[in-house]
């Protein structure tokens, strides 16, 4: 039971219950504005009947699957070849979930997530799922070597 709607700048003031989760990164303003300016249709927020933005407390409801489904639907309409996403290597729960949704690891991006408190930066998996336009699924053939963040286009 969810209201899915477009994310707006004002939601940035309300997403703490999601972003204080250790695996959720809070990015600088440019990150969010860039997405809003360029791909607003992909930027969706889930709101509970009580008005809360749905974070950790709303796990195990199939919400992630639903949001990923929307993402793929929009990308199909745009005629993309594949959908890809970045996820912390340590976030096993998410990695497994993405696998279940049909994503596979395409490559590892070294030290993509900056850490605080003197801990080492964390690697990301770049996971992909081919869309119908990529009939031979060329876009998801795994790379043999990890890449650095500055080498991803």
């Amino acid at each position: 039971m969810t209201t899915l709607r477009a994310f707006t700048c004002d939601d940035l003031f309300r997403f703490n219950n999601i972003n204080l989760d250790p695996l959720t990164e809070t990015y600088g303003i440019p990150f969010y504005l860039q997405y809003l300016a360029h791909w607003p249709e992909y930027f969706i927020v889930a709101e509970a009947p009580g008005g809360e933005l749905m974070g950790y407390k709303f796990r195990r409801l199939g919400l992630a699957a639903k949001l990923m489904e929307l993402l793929e639907e929009i990308s199909e309409k745009k005629g993309g070849f594949f959908v890809d996403l970045f996820v912390r290597v340590s976030n096993q729960v998410a990695v497994n979930m993405y696998k279940q949704l049909g994503y596979s690891v395409y490559r590892t991006v070294l030290e993509y997530y900056s850490a605080s408190n003197g801990e080492p930066d964390e690697d990301a998996y770049d996971m992909r799922k081919a869309l119908s336009r990529d009939t031979e699924k060329k876009s998801i053939i795994p790379l043999p070597h990890p890449v650095r963040p500055e080498d991803i286009e």
């Binding site: 700048c9 003031f13 204080l20 250790p22 695996l23 929307l70």
Partner: protein, 970 residues
């Protein structure tokens, strides 16, 4: 750095090394290389600009600017120079200069699409909407591409948004924009989805909802494909505006048939059904019900529709919460209208019970049911809770043992019931003994539940964490009811919880709030940093830090947290304009006003204004007349008493006051009223602080001048206007203090986890407010002495009396700082954090006293040397010393003695804190288990160490202040 398209151009080859140096951050080499190049090629302007960039980046702003203007004056038209200048101006934060640059360029090369486009974007960066409109059209005339035309249209909308005169916006800008689009529609030239979006935006703003609807439903609407359900959402919005309830109903019904889990459409569905009933709407005979198909217009239909959704749900592979919650929502609405029973929807208590049986193992079950608990009669609360408990599979190992869940699902269900119990006020109604029993039980359940999470990674939360949190909430209740030990138990349990679940932000937040209330900031800094809060979170939860760091004497931490926040706010301006431009480029037109509103919301943030003000006060406190003079400090901050940059009327409270979980019943929860009052209080306190800052910043402007001292009038716009400013600010301060006092008379108690109260109450009650205002009145008197000379005995006496009463008041303030910070009484550890806050206020007040004293000193010194000259001339042995000199000397001596006494007192506190061996204390902690005691020691040690830290920083600052007194002996 710059686009280097023409590889053949020899200049490019020559410039390349400079670009490379700049790109690598080697600014010095870039400057040298540029100089070398300029010796050979005097007219290679771009080299000059690149040199200027190097200069700018090495802190030579003035030279950089001069050099840039030299090139700009030539009105360059080469790509390299233009782009380099654009970069330079941006780094100088002078985006308006870029517009001048390209204005000149398009004049010289009127057919350049590139330069016109740069000009448009330069205007966009500074928000010159009218000029954008013209630039867009100019572009379109050179190259008839649709986007350019619509940039121009969008600029009209921006003019209408920014117009002060709403009439002008509705009668001129928007209709013009509409006509411009209509023209394109008629000529069949509409190409992109963004263009249709823009058309819709214009019509919506013109309140031409019917026309907007026609566009969305018509041929043009077919282009609206990117966003999901874009057409449906827009149609729905227009139906609502037009009160076309049949269409609202039919459309939401259809969307619910597609997805029976989307809450927003249930709301619209119910809204519309009841609207139609109230209008006694009936479908037109032999026609479609509505544009969107079949309409439901009776309660019977609505009931049937919801029941059908539930039947459908039972066939779905994944359980959906929507239909069940919708049923509860329908009951709520029916009850509100006074008719429920006749529709046999069922008893809400039973329905909620069934819901719990179905979804109780989902963590969201509590939040879902929370929305509907007001459907339960309060007499049924206990029964309802026991009914839920009965169906949870719990098992006890032995008799009289607590029955525990055997798996995670049962644990989740049980947690849901505990949360509901708190929400229904069941725990609140208990007496102390019962509450303690529940705390025990919850902690037992918490520790038992850890078994299920043994394989959890440290980034994951433990399944049973909420038990611990809820136990702490109960203990907090006890603490507020006067149970002193409870606060230590709170901290103990939270530290224990955090050791098992090191990523739990709620543990950290609650620890932060409680440590702060105990006056212990040291552990807070670490906890907060482990939350990894950044960027926008500086605005939304930064208050957790900034409210307490300075007021508890953790000056270094206070500076740091202000700096982090300020860095974020300052980058906002630059960041947002970049994306406003991108939104034009990508045709995300509806985002442009949104970005601007967002920028404004950050710029007028309450927290921004607070950290700005407190940061400057803090800098003065730590540095003025210690490492640099007050005058220099104020100059370096570009402070002036006349200037007020706080948008008082538009202050936005961006604090996230619900960041801490809370299960309190509605009547104890944070309400809208609390938010409103807190904002009011914060604003009042900010006003007092800002006026204090401005008054202090006015002190150096009064300092002794060579101007004639006959009357205040002679120095027009000079010092006399400065004293007028000071006096007017002082009046404003008095008024602000008055309204602050009135506000506090209401004795508002925010919920313990709600907005923290400001420092205002302490400021008034410990007497620092009175001291500080008296000090500023003294300034006014001293000024009078300065202008009127030593002839008036009355002024001198007045000043003398002020000195005396100030010493008394400061002594009183000191008395409010006396006492132990920690004491052991009746086997409990008691803390007195207000003594710390008072000490901090003392240091601030004595600092202001000393700044005022140095002003006084600067006034008296010339008088004294004059008198001494006279004395020498006349060779008289006894020229009478005017009384004000003695008064001042006495005053300064007293300040010195007082400050020394406070320093001694602080030393005493330090000795006590060091000597206090907490581990040797045996506190009557009947509640604590052996394993908990370990955490209690840690917690008490942290508080002790934090107090020590506070006292040290305060003491050190005060010692520095004492040194400055010695310079005041005239």
């Amino acid at each position: 750095m710059a686009a280097r398209g023409h590889v053949q151009d020899p200049n490019d080859r020559r410039l390349r090394p400079i670009y490379d140096y700049l790109d690598n951050g080697n600014n010095k080499m870039a400057i040298q290389q540029a100089d070398k190049l300029l010796k050979k090629h005097k007219d290679l302007h771009c080299a000059k600009v690149l040199k200027a960039i190097g200069l700018q980046r090495t802190g030579k702003q003035d030279e950089a600017y001069a050099l840039a203007q030299e090139v700009a004056a030539l009105e360059p038209t080469d790509d390299n120079s233009l782009q380099a200048l654009t970069i330079l101006y941006r780094e100088m934060h002078r985006p308006e200069l870029v517009t001048k640059l390209y204005e000149a360029a398009v004049k010289k090369v009127p057919n350049s699409e590139e330069y016109h486009s740069h000009l448009f974007m330069a205007y966009a960066r500074v928000g010159e909407y009218k000029k954008m409109q013209q630039a867009g059209m100019a572009l379109y005339k050179i190259v008839p591409k649709n986007p350019y035309y619509f940039w121009s249209v969008m600029s009209l909308i921006m003019q209408s948004i920014s117009a002060q005169d709403e009439n002008l916006s509705k009668t001129m800008f928007l209709p013009l924009a509409e006509r411009m689009v209509e023209k394109m529609v008629k000529e069949d030239k509409i190409e992109a989805e963004a263009e249709v979006e823009l058309y819709y935006m214009i019509l919506e703003r013109l309140e031409k909802y019917k026309e907007a609807l026609d566009v969305v439903r018509g041929k043009l609407g077919e282009k609206l494909t990117s966003e999901l359900q874009s057409r449906e959402n827009k149609c729905m919005a227009m139906y609502k505006k037009l009160c076309r309830w049949p269409e609202c109903n039919a459309l939401s019904r259809r969307l619910l048939l597609k997805n029976s889990d989307d809450w927003q459409f249930y709301i619209t569905y119910f809204d519309s059904v009841f609207q139609l009933i109230d209008e006694s709407w009936t479908p037109p005979p032999e026609e479609e019900h509505s544009l969107e198909g079949e309409v439901h217009y009776s309660i019977e239909q609505a009931v049937k529709f919801i029941e059908e959704r539930i039947t459908e749900e039972s066939k779905s592979s994944r359980p959906l919460r929507g239909p069940y919650l919708a049923k509860l929502e329908l009951i709520r609405r029916l009850r509100y209208r006074g008719c429920n029973d006749e529709y046999k929807l069922g008893d809400p208590e039973e329905l909620m019970f069934q819901y719990f049986k179905k979804f109780g193992d989902k963590p969201c079950c509590f939040t879902d049911l929370k929305v509907f608990v007001d459907l339960l009669p309060s007499s049924q609360y206990t029964k309802f809770i026991s009914q839920l408990l009965e169906v949870i599979p719990l098992s006890a190992t032995a008799e009289n043992e607590i029955a525990l869940p055997a798996d995670i699902k049962a644990l989740q269900q049980h947690l849901c019931v505990v949360q509901l119990s708190r929400l229904l006020g069941i725990y609140h109604a208990m007496d102390k003994k019962q509450k303690l029993t529940v705390v025990r039980e919850l902690m037992l359940r918490y520790r038992h539940g850890l078994e299920f999470g043994k394989s959890c990674l440290k980034t994951e939360l433990q399944f049973s964490d909420y038990y611990c949190l809820l136990a702490v909430h109960l203990l907090l209740d006890l603490w507020l009811e006067g149970e002193d030990t409870a606060v230590w138990q709170c901290l103990t349990l939270l530290e224990e919880g955090l050791s098992h679940s090191p990523s739990n932000a709620q543990f950290k937040l609650l620890l932060i709030r409680i440590y702060c209330r105990l006056g212990a900031f040291e552990p807070v800094a670490e906890l907060y940093s482990s939350l990894d809060a950044k960027h926008i979170q500086h605005d939304t939860i930064g208050y957790l830090l900034t409210r307490y760091a300075e007021s508890l004497g953790h000056y270094a931490a206070a500076s740091q947290s202000c700096n982090f926040a300020l860095r974020f706010f300052h980058s906002n301006q630059k960041d947002t304009s970049e994306y406003i431009i991108q939104a034009y480029k990508y045709g995300a037109f509806e985002k442009i006003p949104e970005f601007i509103a967002f920028r404004n919301r950050l710029n007028s943030s309450l927290h921004f204004a607070q950290v700005r003000t407190e940061r400057m006060l803090l800098d003065l406190l730590l540095e003025a007349n210690i490492s640099t003079s007050l005058e220099e400090s104020i100059k370096s901050m570009s402070l002036s008493p006349e200037e007020d940059d706080i948008p008082w009327k538009d202050l936005r409270d961006n604090r996230d006051l619900t960041v801490l979980f809370n299960w309190d019943p509605k009547d104890r929860d944070i309400s809208e009223e609390h938010r409103k009052l807190s904002l009011e209080e914060e604003t009042m306190w900010l006003r007092i602080r800002s006026l204090t800052l401005r008054l202090v910043s006015g002190l150096p402007t009064l300092s002794h001048t060579i101007q004639p001292k006959n009357s205040e009038k002679t120095a027009e716009n000079g010092v006399s206007s400065k004293i007028d400013t000071i006096r007017s600010l002082l009046q404003q301060l008095e008024a602000a203090v008055d309204s602050g006092k009135k506000f506090l008379e209401q004795k508002i108690q925010y919920p313990v986890l709600g907005p923290p109260p400001t420092r205002m109450a302490g400021f008034f009650s410990n007497g620092s407010c009175q001291c500080q205002t008296s000090l500023f009145y003294l300034v006014s008197d001293i000024y009078e002495l300065d202008t009127n000379g030593l002839d008036s005995a009355e002024i001198q006496e007045r000043i003398g009396n002020s000195f005396k009463s100030l010493v008394e008041r400061l002594t009183d303030l000191f008395n409010k700082c006396k006492g132990d910070l920690i004491e052991v009484r009746d086997g409990t550890l008691k803390t007195h954090p207000n003594l710390l806050e008072n000490l901090v206020f003392f240091v601030e007040t004595i600092s202001i006293a000393l700044w005022v004293s140095s002003y006084c000193d600067s006034v008296l010194r010339p008088f004294k040397s004059n008198l001494q000259k006279k004395k020498k001339k006349k060779k008289e042995s006894s020229v009478a010393m005017p009384p004000v000199f003695t008064h001042f000397l006495d005053y300064v001596t007293e300040l010195q003695t007082l400050t020394s006494n406070v320093i001694d007192h602080i030393k005493g506190l330090e000795i006590i804190l060091t000597a206090l061996k907490l581990e040797e204390l045996s506190l009557k902690d009947t509640l604590l288990l052996q394993e908990e005691k370990k955490f209690t020691k840690t917690v008490q040690g942290k508080v002790q160490s934090s107090y020590h830290h506070s006292v040290q920083e305060i003491g050190e600052l005060l010692k520095k202040r004492l040194d400055t007194i010695k310079k005041l002996k005239i």
